[in-house]
Every structure is written in structure tokens, then in C-alpha cells.
């Protein structure tokens, strides 16, 4: 039943999603490359010299020069991937804001997923063991009665008297 609930949520959201995607159309830029085109790429890079600063917001002269370089590269017809590759070759992998998914670096992506799976497995084992423990014992817990408004009103009244 729970699955059905989530499935409904998913289907409804998906249809909304598709509906609006169709409506969506991007505007094209009048003059290429604008500062925005440059920043869109610089955003994916980190300043090679300053600690933890994205290239699009870095204020140093070096970063201004790098942004100017991106602009030149765009003007000469480079695409985004070529520019990113160029920066990686020049300054190393550390310029990429988003770590790569290959080599040793892929571990950064994989481990959280592995940990999550282990965590979910652990939780389900734990819950099962809690439940099994119950099966071995005689449950002395009384069943939970359903609370009707009448019962509730009565209880509230009694509580008020205790006040």
C-alpha cells in the first residue's frame, strides 16, 4: 500500500514535470560570448591558486585573467568540455568543482552510496531482530484500542478533573 502511495506521488509529479518541460524553451543570447557564458563555465572551475574559491566569483587579478582566457577560447570556438579539459591539463584535477568519476577520485562518489546501502541493510536487520525477539517472548502488551472521539472526550474530561 505504501508502495502504491509513493507510486502515485511519483506519477503525478512526473506528469507535471513533463508538462512543464515541454513549455520550457531557453532564450538565446544576442552577442556571444557574454560575461554570463564565461561565468557559466567558470562556475564549474575552482581558482587554481586561492583556497576554496570558485573561479566565477574570485576577485584576484589572476582569476580575472583566467576568465578573460575562457572568453577568448569561447570566441575561438572552443566548447565547454574543451575549456574544462584545458584547465585540468594546465592546473591539475583540483580546478574542477565537481570531482571526476574516474580513477581514485571516483571513490568520493562511491563510498557514500555504499555507506547508505550498508546503513539501510543495517536498519532492516536491526528492525527485524527487534521484531524476532518479540516472537520468542510472550507479548504482554495489550492491544492498542482505537481512540474514538467519545473515548477521547471522556479522557480529556477526567484529566481536567485531575487538574
Amino acid at each position: 500500500m505504501l508502495r502504491k502511495f509513493f507510486f502515485t506521488v511519483f506519477v503525478v509529479l512526473l506528469s507535471l514535470f513533463t508538462a512543464v518541460t515541454v513549455v520550457y524553451a531557453q532564450q538565446s543570447n544576442p552577442v556571444f560570448p557574454t560575461d554570463d557564458d564565461v561565468n557559466a563555465i567558470a562556475k564549474k572551475l575552482y581558482c587554481p591558486v586561492c583556497p576554496n574559491t570558485p573561479l566565477d566569483v574570485c576577485e584576484t587579478q589572476a582569476c580575472k585573467d583566467w576568465r578573460a582566457q575562457i572568453k577568448d577560447q569561447l570566441t575561438s570556438g572552443w566548447n565547454e568540455q574543451q575549456i574544462l579539459d584545458y584547465f585540468v591539463t594546465q592546473y591539475g584535477e583540483k580546478v574542477l568543482a565537481e570531482p571526476q568519476r574516474s580513477g581514485f577520485t571516483s571513490l568520493v562518489w562511491m563510498l557514500p552510496v555504499i555507506v547508505l546501502i550498508i546503513g539501510l541493510g543495517f536498519v532492516s536487520l536491526l528492525l527485524k531482530s527487534w521484531r524476532n525477539r518479540r516472537n520468542h517472548q510472550v507479548s504482554d502488551a495489550p492491544p492498542i484500542p482505537s481512540i474514538t472521539p467519545d473515548v477521547l472526550a471522556k479522557l480529556e474530561k477526567e484529566l481536567q478533573e485531575i487538574d
Binding site: M1, D35, E59, K64, F104, L116, L127
Partner: protein, 691 residues
């Protein structure tokens, strides 16, 4: 001279806290009360002694005694007296001392208030908390001493900063200081360190009680949890305020139009908040159901380790490079302390593993217990992802030798879905009751909020159709919002039916009777509001940049910004200001003048970008002066961010704090409520009366 007295007093404080640590262990193990009493008295003295050192340092900052290296580094004649005083936590030396001072204050409060009540635990509470205090005082005394002086050796290029006179050196008295880092001169950065430190040190108290409970074998009883509940909440509230203030500071000062950059320093603070939040929830389960006892221990041990780790990261700069680690003894000292305390706490926990048995068992996978366990696991998974992303650059550098960056895209992609699941659970959890829960009932109750949220999402989704992915987020916040409202409505309706109260009075009394529970819901509402702000920041943020001559305008969405001229003038605190005069229009309607500017701090040779911001509930127009030319004609490069919904982050932060205040506020009813618990079947009541 005064500084020397401060130094001596600081050293005495170190000796006393070391004595308290050792004597409390000895007294505890040998069962010798006199030693424990003595440890208590020594601990009580540490606070006044550290206070004296703090006052000396504050005085030195106030009178600008630049012979002290610390005063020289963080203050200057151009700074206002108030700013000079806040420079106490503006640098490493001062802030570590400040940390130790807050810690000693907390220890003192615990020893004065909880002494009789938790007499059996006290020896080891003193040991644990005073060991932490001793470590921080030791760091202040031996590694990063705020009372170091400046020395000049003839022929040498740099000044030396030590406490004692090096051979052949003469003391150096600068005329003026270098002044606080200009970026830190903001109300957010003035309030952020103290609140963060209160949060960090606050968690040491529940940790100390947990360790004491383990050592004494009283961990199976949950007295330590009840005793430290308020401490946990206090720590959590201050850590939350610290996070909000830090975010606000970043937004106002760092000039990149955002409030959270997943920087190592931010993550360092976020991790203990995550595990602390998990702890806050898991102790509820122990209080109510006697379950998750081992789990609580693991969480508080983790939280403690992460608070020290957080201080370590912010204060040593190790994350930027492993090379920063070896620059001072601070890195190795912190590393060793975290390692030793973490390993020994875990060892202790495993030796006591069997005392921590659950008192109850699970009856259904849809009960609140199951939801709590899942929620805790999610918190921990997020904390792990953040931790892993934060330390991975170091690991990569150590193992492969290549430096990499783990930037916001990683954190957003990895934690995003986890936060989604967590917030969804937040909406569903209140409707599942302890022990067992019929799914049909939950569905029946949740159907209304679900349908309303779908309707709201459809409208919202249509308005924001340019950002299709935002729909999932918008559905989530509206669903959880309406779920919480439904929960309020259920409570109100019951009171209206049974007592004939009008809705407002019913709501008020609902809060009065169940402050913890309804305060908790208010906190959840705050979280929803923050989530809305984050959705705005993730999906609806627009930015553009362009170079303008006088009279030209830059367009973004419905807004346009006209540049009217540039002016330069000297400002306060030793800065030169260049300011662009711009006019903001929305759909050709004039809104207001904005003056983005660049402040150049002459002494520090540091530029600071001050954004011109037009702020309304739904949107912030955030303008920045990126560059300018005066030849041949005046022109400026401006950057504009249109930050939709960002103010929900701050509003949500305030609602969250309000919720905590409601939850912790002492109520007259709280004692009397005990009589409500029917002995035969307490759960029956608690399932709807409160938790």
C-alpha cells in the same frame, strides 16, 4: 605587566584543570570522596581564573597594547572599541582561549547544579569535561598563546612571536596593529563564533555524562539522558543559531550571492549539527521506549569527536592542504587528542555493550520506532557524505599525491536525495505512533494534506515552469507543511470537541500542555521554510553580468539596473570606498537606488565587496561591483543575482529558534503532567498526548 599576570593566571588554570582531571579519576576509581571533592573545587576555580585571563586580554585589546602579538594581529587604532573587544575571538589564540573559557563556565554550572542529583556520575563527568578543558587550556598555554609578545632579532627579516624573550632579541613595540580581517567585521561574524563555541562546548556536557554513565555501569539507566536533555537542546540551539549567522555573514560579506558554499569550514560545523540532531531525536526514543541506548552512545561520541574536529579544521587550516598540518604543533595536538578520545570512548562503549539492552521490542515496521531509526540512519548518512567530501581532498593528496577539489556539485548531488527523504519522513513521522501503527489510518489522515499539496504544486509548478526539477522540491515542502498543519488541526479539533474551546484558545493550550511536542513541530516548520529557501537558491537563482557606461542598463528577468555614475570617498575603519550609483527597475517601474561598492582596507591591502541589495519576502536583488574603468569613459562591470525565496532561509532560522524556545521553556504543567501517565498502559496516552 598586566599581560604577564594574565599569563601566570592562565598557567595556574592549566595546572588546576589538570589536577581536577587526575584527581577525579583517582577519587572515582579508589572511591575516595575527598579527592573527588578536591577535583570539584579545582574545577570550580578554573572559570574565575580563565575569566581573569580573558579580561586581561580584553583590556589589552581595548587599550591597544600592541606589544602583544595577538593584539597587534587582530586590532588597530582605526577599529572602534566595540570591534576591538570582539576581536577576542577574531584570531586563533583568542578564540581557543574563549573556547576553554566557555567550557569552564559550563563545567562550573554543571558542578553547582547537578552535584547532589548525580553524585555517582560526578567523578567521571569531571574527568571527561575537565580533560577537554585541560586540552584547550594546554593548547592556549603551550602552542598558541594570546599573551605572546613581539620580538625583534637584529638582522632577521621577520618578527618572532613568543612568550619568553629569545636569545639576542629585543622587544618590539609597534605603533599600530594590523587590524581584524576586514571580512570579519560584520554582525554575523561577531555573533557567529560565540554561538558556535557555545554549541560545540555544550555537547561536551552530555558527552561527559554519557562517558560517566558508561564508566560507572549506570548506562543502562537513562538518568544521564534526562539530566543532560536541556544541555543537548542548549548546544543544539546555539549551533543552529551559529549556522544561521554564519550563512548570513557569507551572504552579506563574501560577495558570491549565496549563503552556503560547502566550504570545509562550513562543513566542519554542519557535521556535529547533523549528528547532534540525530542524537536529539534518538534520546527521545530512549526516554519513551528505552530503546536505542547503544545508538545514543555512538551518536554522542561521534558528536563530541566532530565538535573537536570542527574546531580543529577551522583553527588549523589543514583542509586546504596537508602541508598546513605540519606548520604548527596545533594540527598534531588536535589530531592526537581527537584520536585518543575517540578510540578510548569507543573502547569503553564496547566493554559496556551488554549493559545497554533495549527494554522494548518492535511490533511493527510502520511504528514510530522504525521511522526514528530510519531517520537517524539518514542523518548519519548525510553526515558521512559531508565528512567524506570534506576530507577526501586530503586523502587523495596523501595517497595519490594529486590534489582535487570537492565542490558544491558533489554535496548537492549526494546529500540532496537524502535530505529529500529526511524531510519526507519529517512530515510522516508525527502520524505514526509508538509500537505499532495501522497503515490504513496514516493514509486516511495524510490524504488531505497530500491532495492539497498536489494542488499547490500544480499551481506552483505552473508559475515556475521554467525550472521543472523544482517541482519535486516544491511538492515536498508543501506536503510536509500541510501535514504539520493537519497535525495541529487534529489536536485543536480534539480540544474543541471535548472542552468546547474556540480554535485559538485550543491552539494555545495545546502548546502549553505539550511544549516539547509542539515546539518540535514549530522547529520542523522552520526546517521546511529553510528547505524552501534552499529550493529557491538551487533552482530559481538567476545571475547576469555586464559592463555598462553611464546611463546604460543591465537586464535580468523582470528587473533592470541602470548605472548612473561612480564615486570614490574615504570611509570609516581605514577604508577607501568606490561606489556605483545604480537604479533598480522592475517592469520599468522604479524600485529604489542600489549602491554596490568595493571597500579597500588600506592597512590590510584587502578589498571587500559590499553588495547593494534590494530585499523583499520573495526575492532579493543582489548587485555587486565587479570592476570599473574611468578612462576613456566611466564604466562599471556589474553582477546581479536574483535570489528567489532566499529570505525564507533567515525567516526559517528564526522560526526554528522560536520552536526551540517553546520546547525548552519551563512550563508549570511539566511536573503535573507526570500524573497523567496511567500506570497500566502509559503508551496509550503518550501516543496522542505528547512526547
Amino acid at each position: 605587566m598586566l599581560a604577564n599576570i594574565g599569563l601566570v593566571i592562565l598557567f595556574i588554570a592549566f595546572l588546576l584543570s589538570l589536577f581536577a582531571t587526575l584527581s577525579s579519576v583517582y577519587g572515582g576509581v579508589k572511591n575516595k570522596n575527598a579527592w573527588v571533592e578536591s577535583a570539584r573545587n579545582a574545577s570550580l576555580l578554573v572559570f574565575p581564573l580563565l575569566s581573569f585571563s580573558i579580561i586581561v586580554l580584553l583590556y589589552s585589546l581595548y587599550v591597544m597594547d600592541f606589544s602583544l602579538a595577538y593584539v597587534y594581529d587582530v586590532s588597530s587604532t582605526a577599529m572602534s572599541p566595540f570591534l576591538r573587544l570582539t576581536a577576542l575571538w577574531g584570531g586563533q589564540q583568542g578564540s581557543v582561549l574563549f573556547w576553554a573559557w566557555i567550557m569552564s563556565a559550563f563545567v562550573m554550572i554543571v558542578l553547582l547544579r547537578k552535584w547532589e542529583e548525580n553524585r555517582a556520575l560526578m567523578p567521571y563527568v569531571i574527568t571527561t569535561s575537565m580533560l577537554t578543558t585541560t586540552f584547550f587550556i594546554a593548547v592556549v598555554v603551550f602552542i598558541t598563546n594570546p599573551f605572546s609578545k613581539l620580538w625583534y632579532i637584529p638582522g632577521a627579516e621577520d618578527l618572532i612571536k613568543t612568550v619568553f624573550q629569545p636569545v639576542g632579541a629585543v622587544q618590539y613595540f609597534p605603533v599600530d596593529g594590523r587590524g581584524l580581517n576586514p571580512l570579519l567585521r560584520h554582525f554575523g561574524m561577531i555573533g557567529h563564533p560565540p554561538t558556535t563555541y557555545i554549541g560545540f562546548t555544550g555537547f561536551v556536557i552530555p558527552f561527559s555524562f554519557a562517558i560517566a554513565a558508561l564508566v560507572t555501569g549506570k548506562s543502562g539507566e537513562d538518568g544521564w539522558i534526562r539530566t543532560t536533555r536541556r544541555w543537548t537542546l542548549l548546544a543544539w540551539i546555539f549551533l543552529s543559531i551559529g549556522l544561521v549567522l554564519g550563512g548570513r555573514w557569507a551572504y552579506d560579506v563574501l560577495g558570491w550571492g549565496g549563503f552556503w558554499g560547502w566550504d570545509p569550514v562550513e562543513n566542519a560545523m554542519f557535521m556535529p549539527w547533523l549528528t547532534g540532531t540525530a542524537f536529539l531525536h534518538s534520546v527521545m526514543m530512549t526516554e519513551k521506549r528505552g530503546m536505542l541506548k547503544k545508538w545514543n552512545m555512538i551518536l554522542i561520541i561521534l558528536t563530541y569527536a566532530l565538535t573537536i574536529f570542527g574546531t580543529f579544521i577551522t583553527r588549523t587550516g589543514i583542509i586546504s592542504s596537508v602541508h598546513a598540518f605540519s606548520k604548527s604543533a596545533l594540527g598534531p595536538a588536535f589530531f592526537a587528542f581527537i584520536g585518543i578520545t575517540f578510540v578510548s570512548s569507543l573502547t569503553l562503549l564496547f566493554t559496556r555493550w551488554d549493559t545497554l539492552k533495549s527494554e522494548h521490542q518492535l511490533e511493527s515496521f510502520t511504528s514510530r520506532e522504525a521511522v526514528f531509526v530510519l531517520q537517524n540512519m539518514l542523518f548519519l548518512a548525510i553526515a558521512f557524505a559531508v565528512f567524506w567530501g570534506t576530507v577526501f581532498p586530503l586523502i587523495s593528496e596523501l595517497i595519490t599525491g594529486s590534489k582535487i577539489t570537492v565542490g558544491p556539485p558533489y554535496f548537492k548531488k549526494v546529500t540532496g536525495p537524502l535530505f529529500f527523504a529526511l524531510i519526507l519522513l519529517m512530515g510522516v513521522a508525527p502520524f505514526s505512533s509508538w509500537r505499532k501503527q495501522s497503515l490504513a489510518k496514516v493514509k486516511k489522515v495524510l490524504l488531505t494534506p497530500f491532495l492539497i499539496s498536489l494542488g499547490a504544486t500544480a499551481v506552483w509548478g505552473y508559475v515556475h515552469r521554467t525550472h521543472p526539477f523544482s517541482i519535486f522540491g516544491l511538492w515536498l515542502v508543501s506536503f510536509v507543511f500541510f501535514a504539520i498543519i493537519t497535525e495541529f488541526w487534529r489536536g485543536i479539533r480534539v480540544r474543541m470537541a471535548s472542552r468546547g474551546e474556540n480554535p485559538l484558545i485550543a491552539l494555545f493550550k495545546l502548546f502549553r500542555r505539550n511544549q516539547r511536542r509542539y515546539g518540535g513541530y514549530i522547529i520542523h516548520l522552520g526546517v521546511i521554510m529553510i528547505a524552501l529557501g534552499v529550493i529557491g537558491d538551487t533552482y530559481f537563482k538567476q545571475e547576469t553580468q555586464g559592463t555598462l557606461k553611464v546611463g546604460e542598463a543591465l537586464k535580468i528577468g523582470a528587473y533592470s539596473l541602470r548605472f548612473d555614475g561612480l564615486q570614490g570617498f574615504p570611509g570609516s575603519d581605514g577604508r577607501d570606498i568606490v561606489e556605483a550609483k545604480t537604479m533598480l527597475y522592475k517592469n520599468d517601474q522604479f524600485i529604489r537606488e542600489l549602491t554596490p561598492r568595493r571597500d579597500f582596507f588600506v592597512v590590510q591591502q584587502q578589498p571587500v565587496t559590499v553588495a547593494g541589495v534590494y530585499s523583499s519576502l520573495n526575492v532579493d536583488v543582489y548587485t555587486m561591483l565587479v570592476g570599473w574603468e574611468t578612462q576613456p569613459t566611466q564604466s562599471v562591470t556589474l553582477k546581479i543575482y536574483v535570489n528567489s525565496l532566499i529570505n525564507w532561509v533567515w525567516t526559517g532560522g528564526m522560526v526554528l529558534i522560536l520552536g526551540i524556545l517553546i520546547a525548552v521553556c519551563p512550563s508549570k504543567k511539566s511536573k503535573r503532567r507526570v500524573t497523567y501517565v496511567m500506570k497500566s498502559n502509559p503508551l496509550y496516552f503518550e501516543s496522542f498526548l505528547g512526547d
